[in-house]
Structure formats: structure tokens, C-alpha cells
Subunit: 511 residues, 2 copies
């Protein structure tokens, strides 16, 4: 029996395990401010890697970064009825701009400094960016406008869970305007594909990309697409969304242009976003009972060297030996970038450091002691192959030069291995069903089934859709999306058997 | 007479010229939200370059990035009396977390959703980061803690000016905790030096680094150091600050550690920040009557190729010729990084594009027409040498391969040239004075003197300092700082001639 590094396993209590990984890997913590977290260096380092890699892809598809105000005047929200309906319930409202002494030794908002119009802390920026688009866009020559913003946003949450649901979170939001519907739809799907490939290639997170049904659309959108990832407890996590907004926001905000024939038209707009939620997805995709496992592409440090210091004069030689290894590794290239290698010389016991890096999920951990140095060796621990079959730690002693030569290949293997493992799980846990009873049974039996169900349906809308959603809700289920490029659909609708099915849709419990 | 690209020159109206550069170079614009601006792609691209280069230096000195909450509970501010005194007058206060219909077709804050304790949108994060430090720091082994955050902050401003004074701005704030005062003071000066070298080496902005007098200290600090840059109108711009906080914040927030002897001590803390203000400084340091001039290190695009398209079938060949040049340039390295080269193929007249890039301040603009292509040439425009002595545009035709070979050296020359030009101006415009009358006269005569005055002083404090500050204020002057490594000081204090001077201090009008 392996004794794992975490006090709780996934099988024992998945929700508790999730929180434990976050705290044991020093990723984040409660801040003392309601619903807001502190993202600590290891968690933030992962986010910075995600930012860098996703930002490169956003630029490569022709978008430019900008920055728009944190505050949005209340009146902006009153313009797009559906949009405000979707967000009005959960927004932070700024009403004053000064504090004064309250006469009891404390402070209070100054009644003299009440704002004429309250300001909303942005929950998303369609309205304020739309008003800029209206200024920028006059002629077809100004189109397309392709911009992106990295920002913090606030949606007031009563029940929060770190990275998955917090009142403040970090994200990027892309906003574009186009001359034609065709072009805007193409943009929407292009960014969906950017998210899909980013999730798969960088985060090693297999996802299903597809369109959401009507009831799951972004408030004010004509169509919403998402990528959905399967967590190890079988629940779905929406990991990125891309919206085709048609002319809804353009109408509300008067984004018009003169076309080549001199006539005025409404612009077609899109928006798309991915957030720090992705880090929650990373944990529940790759974590194990020893902590997090970070895919090398997004690991802040890919190789961590732990010298086994003994507080003796020999330590200096050992550190020099390790520095030399560090230098050699830092000149290597893996997965298209210089290898990121750290030497951990903190005044802490070597075993504590080893387990610290195991819990953080550094892809490769090198332990180097006097004996290793004497033999020109290093002891190598791969985070993705931590134990041998007999349950012992799978540490292997390798000649240092041989090891250095292998680093790029090792990192590539770990990246691929994590992806394959998660993909196999995703594939194995999507099943098809033919009746409502079958679905009820599957999800009723606790612990028996951890996966998603795919059913053929008629693409119901309006009240028909509402009825289905109500039934799903009674089982704590939701529609996820209609997978792109899914199998051809024949036969009757799963929900309304008197109608023909036109596509397949995924049903799951979700975060 | 040169006809310049901007409708207003620096000599005519410096303040108006500043706003004109920002709008003509598409850097930023008013957002419609009080005191907040929209930072457009060229302005934000410059900020991203500054971020990247400064972030590298912050990491290289051992700091790690984190993220702390946007909101700070009111009670946190009540703990450090001086600190809140300094900030309480200008903060955005969140009082509600929900909107409801107001019965008149609009929305209003829901009285049922009033927060028990108001939340402040962070004006700076000492208090919330200090409370995290109190959790993180138990033993001397946990020290030093060296962290940094890139974030938006809000300080309510009545009179705003883009990049220089806006209610919301972007910055980085470093926060560190140390076991000893010596170490914390060393950190404070290390970061001052990081700012100094960043300003000089990256932004080509000469600065004076030094300590602020007591009255200019950060609220709650024991000592504040700054870098001060001279704008072209002679005013000073504080471009970065580094604070030694002693144990003031540690006391207020109970940041204690057990030292090696087992006794509890208060930690010594520091904080330091640099903001989007730097972009305002960039404009007023390097801008000229044709717009901005961006030093190559922080230019989002260092070389811009403008093909002279004519809407004829020949365009395809010309574009191919330009793409080929672009490819060759993109493989070059200059100033330690790959050269950033853009080809501008927007559907706009070539002359409009040329002047657009002149106003934006791209370091090198290449214009390529059919005749250039036929001769394997390019027409080169250096933004820092825009006109010949006869006032004509200084465009020169160069063989394309020869030009490509020269690109790295050209960019290095432009970087150095801009720095030297600004440094010469700084040096020429700091004068010494021996009497209050002399200073009054210098600054009284409008337009005559655009610079700073350096005087020997006794390092006055308390009421003596207040008297001086009052006098300075009557002349619209402020103390800037006491330059590091300044000349030895002898003789009497400039302000109180019966006391000996101990150091030299700078006096200037300031932004």
C-alpha cells in the first residue's frame, strides 16, 4: 500500500481533496475578503504560463490587446435588456468616492460623496467595449476590429470555491466587430478552436467543443459555443466560451458602419473568454493523491533540483555541482522554449522539499546528494511515474550527462502522457442512452457512474426546452454542448420521440 | 520651415500638445467613465513591453508574482492611522452587491443587498498583503518574503489627465518582509536601482534617484525614495517609488516571526511601485512636434513596412517583396531580442500610413514602392532623424540587403541617441541657487527657466519643514528628492542659513 502525500484521497472525498491540493501545493488561499482569494506564486505562475501561451495564440490570430475601465456606469447596463437580466443579480456596486471618520474611531462612506450614477465593477465588458466600438467604427474600412483584454472581473457569488467560483476572477475577454454575419460566425468558431487547441496542447486537457443549447446561451448572444472538460469525478467543467452576438449589442450601442455602397449597417459582434477557472480544471484533470501534476508546458518550473544539504563544508561543492547541472539544463530547449529549471536552496530539510515539489507537481524533481555527486549522477523522480509496482518511490539514479541529454524528451513524454491519460478517461466515460429512465438510473445510483451521457435530440427551443431542462434539473443534470463534428444522427429525439433527432447533445453534472 | 504632423507644437501649448500626441498616436482616449481611460493597442502595447522588461528585472532580483483581492474591507484601513489618513479622501467604495429594477424602467442598488461592511477598491495593497504576510510568516526561516503584483488600482481623482492622473491606473506593486532593518533598507534601495536602470536602459529616460524629504513620504513609511524624470517643459515627473516601511505596517497587522533565538520580533517591510504614469513620462521625454518617438526596446513594433500599394495586379509582387524583407528582419536580434517587424497592409493610402507611424513613433519606417523593388531597394525613414537640414523629409533609398544588415545597429543607435538627447537636457536644466529670492525670480518669470534647482539644506523636519514647504507651495514648487551620490555639501542651509547644510535637495514644479 502506497502512503500518499495528501491526507485525503480523491476516492474518499473529491471536494475535500480538491481544496487540499490547492492548499498543500501553495496555489491559493482564502483572503479574508468575502469571495476573493489570494493566488500564491505557484498558482499564479501557472496562470502566467497559461496567459503567455494563450496570448501568443490570440495575437497570432490577429487580435490586439487593449485595456478598458474597471467601472461601468449603471446606465450602460440598462441598454441591453437580456444582458442585464443575466448579470444584474450579482454585481458589486460603487456608490461613494470618499470615506470620512464615523465619529466612533472608524470610517464610513461620506454621504456628501455619493455618486450621482452608481458604477458597476465590470462583470464582463461587452457594454463598455461596445461603446468604444461605436466611436471607432465609421466605415467598412474600420472593420474588422479585433481586440482582447486581460482583466479582473467581479460577479458576486454567495457560495464560492477557489478557482471555480470566486467573486473576483481573472480572465481574458476578446471582443470583435465585423461587417458580415458570416465573418463574425467564422471568428466565433476560430476562437473556439483556439481554446480547444490551447486546452489540449498546452494544458493537456482533453475537451469537447460544441454549441450550447438556447437555455445555456450568454445573456444577449445569438449563439454560444463552449469547450467542456471532464473532471476526475465525472463532472463537466466549462473551460472557455465563444459567443456570436449578432447585431444585439450593436443595436443597443449603435455600432454602425457605412458599407462600400454607402449604406449604414449594424456591425456583427462576438466575444469570447477564458478564466482562472482553467486552473481548477487543471487540478481536477491531472491531480492525483499526491497533489497536483502540472503539464510541462504550463509548469512555472519544469525541473527542480534539490541538493541534499547537510550543513557541512561539503555543501559548497554540492551546490556547485548542482549549479553546473542547472546551467546545462537551462540552455536546453523543450517543447519549443528554453527549459525552466530551479534550484531549491531554502533552509528546509531535503525530504520536506521533495514532497513539497511532489505536491506542487513539478514535472521532474532531481535529488542530488554527496553519493550522487561522487558518481557523477543525479537521482531522478518523474512526477507522472511516482511509484514503482511494489509501491516504493520510483527514484532512479542516472548519469548526469545522460540525464541532461534526456530532459527535452522526458518533458515531451510527460506532456503527452498526461494528455493521453486524460483523453482515455474522457472517452471511456461518455455513454449513449436511449430512454429517460436509463439516464435517471445512471445518475441515481451514487458512485456507480461518473461520466456524461450523449443523446440524439430535436434541438428543442422555448417551452419544450424548458420542460427538458426542468427534468434535467431534477436529476441535477445540465446540457453541456452539441459536439462539433459528431456522428450523423438518425432516429427519434431522445426527449420527444415523436420528433426526429437532428444532432447529439451531452448531458452531465457540472461545476 | 518644416510643416509638422501635429496641429499643435510643444512651444505653442505643452499641455495641449501632450493630449494631441495621445490621441493622434492612438494611445488612449476618454472612456465615458469618469476619470477612467481606454488604453488603445499602441498605448497598451508599449505598456506590455514595459511590463515584460520590468518583470524580468523584478524576477531576476528574486521576487515572485502573486495576486491579491481587488476589494479591501474598510476595517483593514482603520488599522494603520497614517496610511488611511493619506488615502481615505479618494477611494471608491462598494456598498451593495445587487441591482434591482427601480420601477421607472431603470436599475438601482438593491437596499436588501447592502454590505454589512463596505469594501474599498484597492488604492494600494499594503493592508491586504500585510494580512497575508501575518499568516505566512512564523519563523525566520520564512523570511524574506519577496512578492510582486501587477494590478489595477483606484484613487478617486477630480481632475484627471491621461496616463498621469486617472482614477483607475495599472501598476506593479512589490511587497517584501525581512528579518532585519538592514536587509529591508537594502531591498528598498535595490528596487530603487531596478527602477533607475529600467527607466534609463529601457525607456531611455534619464532620472535622478534619491530620497524624498519627510513631507513627501508615502503614508505610513519610514522613508520613501523616488526616481524623478525631467519632462520637456522642465517639470518633474515622479516615475517610481520605493518605500522602507520599518515595522509600522507589521505592528498594525501583527507580522511577527520567531528569530533563531526563539524570540518574537516584528518583521521589517518594504513596498515599491511603478505605473502607467511611465507612459506619460515617455511621451513628455521623447515626443516631438510630429508625435511620439518610442525607444526601440519598448516599441511594440520596431520596424514597420509600408508597401505603396496601387490597387493594381502588381501589388501582389510588391507584397511578396515586402514579406520577404519582413521575414529576414524578423530573424535578426537587436538589443537582446528578436526584432519586431510589422507589415501594414490596411486599406489606407500609403502617405496616411506613413504619417500614422510617424505620429505613433515607430523607430524605423520602411516605404517600399515599385521603383524600390525594381532596384532591390527600400526607402528608410528614421523616426529620430525625420527631417534634413533643409526641412525636407529625411528618407533615404538603401539597398535592401545592406539595410537588413544594418537593422540591429540602427535600433541600438536610436535607443542610445534618444537617451543621450534626454540626458543632455536633464543635465543642462539643473541649476544651483544661493538665495530664496533667486529661486522666486527664476520661477516667477514665465517661460524663462524650465528646469530644476538644487540647493544645500539641513534636512529640516516638523514645523521647520512645513514652513519651507509652504513657501515652496506659494511658488507652485515641490521638493523632489535628495540625489544619491550627490556632491559633498558644505556651508549653510539654503533655507535656514544659521544651520549647516547636510545634503543637496532638488526643487521643481511637478506633475
Amino acid at each position: 500500500m502506497v502512503k500518499h502525500a495528501l491526507p485525503v484521497t480523491r476516492a474518499q472525498d473529491f471536494a475535500q481533496w480538491y481544496q487540499t491540493v490547492i492548499s498543500e501545493a501553495d496555489m491559493a488561499e482564502e483572503s479574508g475578503v468575502r469571495g476573493c482569494m489570494v493566488i500564491r506564486p505557484w498558482g499564479f505562475g501557472i496562470w502566467e504560463r497559461m496567459q503567455r501561451l494563450l496570448d501568443d495564440r490570440i495575437r497570432a490570430t490577429g487580435h490586439e490587446n487593449c485595456y478598458f475601465p474597471l467601472f461601468i456606469p449603471l446606465s450602460y447596463f440598462e441598454k441591453e435588456a437580456e444582458h442585464v437580466e443575466g448579470f444584474a443579480k450579482e454585481m458589486a456596486v460603487v456608490t461613494h468616492h470618499r470615506l470620512i471618520p464615523d465619529g466612533k474611531g472608524g470610517l464610513m462612506p461620506d454621504p456628501e460623496a455619493k455618486l450621482e450614477e452608481p458604477l458597476i465593477v465590470r462583470p464582463t465588458s461587452e457594454t463598455v467595449i461596445g461603446s468604444a466600438f461605436a466611436r471607432w467604427i465609421q466605415s467598412w474600412r474600420d472593420l474588422p476590429v479585433l481586440i482582447n483584454q486581460w482583466a479582473n472581473v467581479v460577479r458576486w457569488e454567495m457560495r464560492t470555491r477557489m478557482f471555480l467560483r470566486t467573486s473576483e476572477f481573472l480572465w481574458q475577454e476578446g471582443h470583435t466587430a465585423h461587417a458580415t454575419e458570416e465573418e463574425a460566425r467564422y471568428e466565433t468558431l476560430t476562437m473556439l478552436e483556439v481554446y480547444r487547441s490551447f486546452a489540449e496542447d498546452c494544458v493537456a486537457m482533453p475537451v469537447i467543443a460544441g454549441e450550447k443549447p438556447e437555455n445555456e446561451r450568454f445573456p444577449g448572444a445569438v449563439g454560444t459555443w463552449s469547450i467542456e472538460a471532464m473532471m476526475q469525478d465525472g463532472k463537466a467543467l466549462q473551460a472557455g466560451t465563444s459567443h456570436f452576438l449578432g447585431t444585439n449589442f450593436a443595436k443597443a450601442q449603435n455600432i454602425r458602419f457605412q458599407n462600400a455602397e454607402g449604406q449604414f449597417e449594424l456591425a456583427q459582434t462576438t466575444s469570447w473568454g477564458m478564466s482562472t477557472r482553467m486552473i481548477g480544471g487543471l487540478i481536477m484533470t491531472h491531480g492525483d493523491d499526491d497533489g497536483l501534476r502540472v503539464p510541462p508546458r504550463i509548469a512555472p518550473w519544469q525541473v527542480v533540483i534539490v541538493p541534499m544539504l547537510r550543513d557541512t563544508p561539503d555543501d559548497a561543492t554540492l551546490i556547485e555541482y548542482c549549479r553546473d547541472i542547472q546551467r546545462s539544463i537551462s540552455h536546453l530547449t523543450a517543447l519549443g522554449e528554453p527549459v525552466r529549471v530551479l534550484m531549491d536552496v531554502k533552509p528546509v530539510k531535503a525530504a520536506t522539499k521533495r514532497w513539497g515539489w511532489v505536491k506542487k507537481g513539478a514535472p521532474i524533481i532531481l535529488e542530488v546528494g554527496g553519493r550522487d555527486m561522487a558518481g557523477s549522477n543525479v537521482s531522478v523522480l518523474r512526477r507522472d511515474q511516482l511509484y514503482r509496482d511494489d509501491g516504493k518511490l520510483n527514484s532512479s539514479i542516472v548519469n548526469r550527462d545522460e540525464f541532461i541529454d534526456q530532459v527535452p524528451e522526458l518533458l515531451e513524454n510527460i506532456q503527452t502522457g498526461l494528455h493521453q491519460e486524460a483523453r482515455a478517461r474522457l472517452r471511456a466515460n461518455i455513454v449513449r442512452a436511449t430512454s429517460r429512465e436509463e439516464v435517471s438510473l445512471r445518475f441515481a445510483e451514487k458512485g456507480d457512474f461518473n461520466g456524461w451521457v450523449e443523446v440524439p435530440w430535436c434541438r428543442a427551443t422555448g417551452e419544450d426546452l424548458e420542460e427538458i431542462v426542468k427534468w434535467l434539473k431534477s436529476l441535477k443534470l445540465t446540457f453541456r454542448n452539441v459536439p462539433e463534428h459528431s456522428d450523423k444522427t438518425e432516429g427519434p429525439c431522445f426527449f420527444y420521440p415523436d420528433r426526429p433527432a437532428v444532432e447529439r447533445i451531452l448531458i452531465a453534472r457540472a461545476y
